[in-house]
């Protein structure tokens, strides 16, 4: 089974801090994604990566950046955390065509105080 591991289930940070959320997948998937999940808004795509060092903006990239130095690891970075970035963050990966679905991690509940 594919395993997508997010480094933290719960994280509390302070306004202005630089925050790193880490995601690792163990199935050699080319494509990795970061979503933000908020009640009543569903999942919104922040950034995705289709290869090492390749990234593209999703629908809500403002205030975020990403890093993909190795194929298995995709990091989401909050450059200067703000309270409106308090949310659930989900990482996902897929090997390609839609016959193979996206596999999700357990999520990180991030609180910015």
């Amino acid at each position: 089974d594919v395993k997508v591991t997010q480094s933290s289930r719960y994280l509390v940070k302070r306004t202005g801090e630089k925050v790193f959320l880490e995601c690792v997948q163990d199935m050699d998937h080319e494509n990795m994604f970061w979503y933000r999940q908020d009640p009543g808004l569903g999942l919104r795509l922040i950034y995705f990566s289709y290869d090492v060092k390749m990234k593209e903006k999703g629908d809500i990239p403002e205030g975020y950046s990403v890093s993909r130095e190795k194929k298995e690891r995709f990091s989401l970075i909050l450059e200067s955390a703000s309270t409106n970035q308090t949310s659930m963050y989900l990482c996902a990966s897929t090997s390609g065509p839609a016959e193979k679905p996206q596999h999700f991690g357990d999520g990180t509940r991030l609180s910015i105080l």
């Binding site: 494509n31 994604f33 979503y35 009543g40 808004l41 569903g42 999942l43 919104r44 795509l45 995705f48 289709y50 593209e56 999703g58 659930m88 989900l90 996902a92 897929t94 390609g96 065509p97 839609a98 016959e99 679905p101 996206q102 999700f104 991690g105 357990d106 999520g107």
Partner: protein
Amino acid sequence: AQTVTQSQPEMSVQEAETVTLSCTYDTSESNYYLFWYKQPPSRQMILVIRQEAYKQQNATENRFSVNFQKAAKSFSLKISDSQLGDTAMYFCAFEGGGSNYKLTFGKGTLLTVNP
């Protein structure tokens, strides 16, 4: 841009009964994929069922089936013989044919199965 609409924020059903969750979408593409994902209270999102737009036959996975109406851009999920373990958030999602596998999600429907 594609949009996905789930018009039922919350639904409930009695155990063993059948329930249908609605989803509509908007796209100008002819080749695309549709998904239903389930997120139980433990939070890990898992795939329930998928449908390729070019296939006329509705997808079925055990107790889960879809009613795909391409002309109406409708993609509803039917759960038969509902079980307590079906209690979850259900998300409808769209993937365009040339989208680099990006998914556009609806806002979700919280389904509660009552004993």
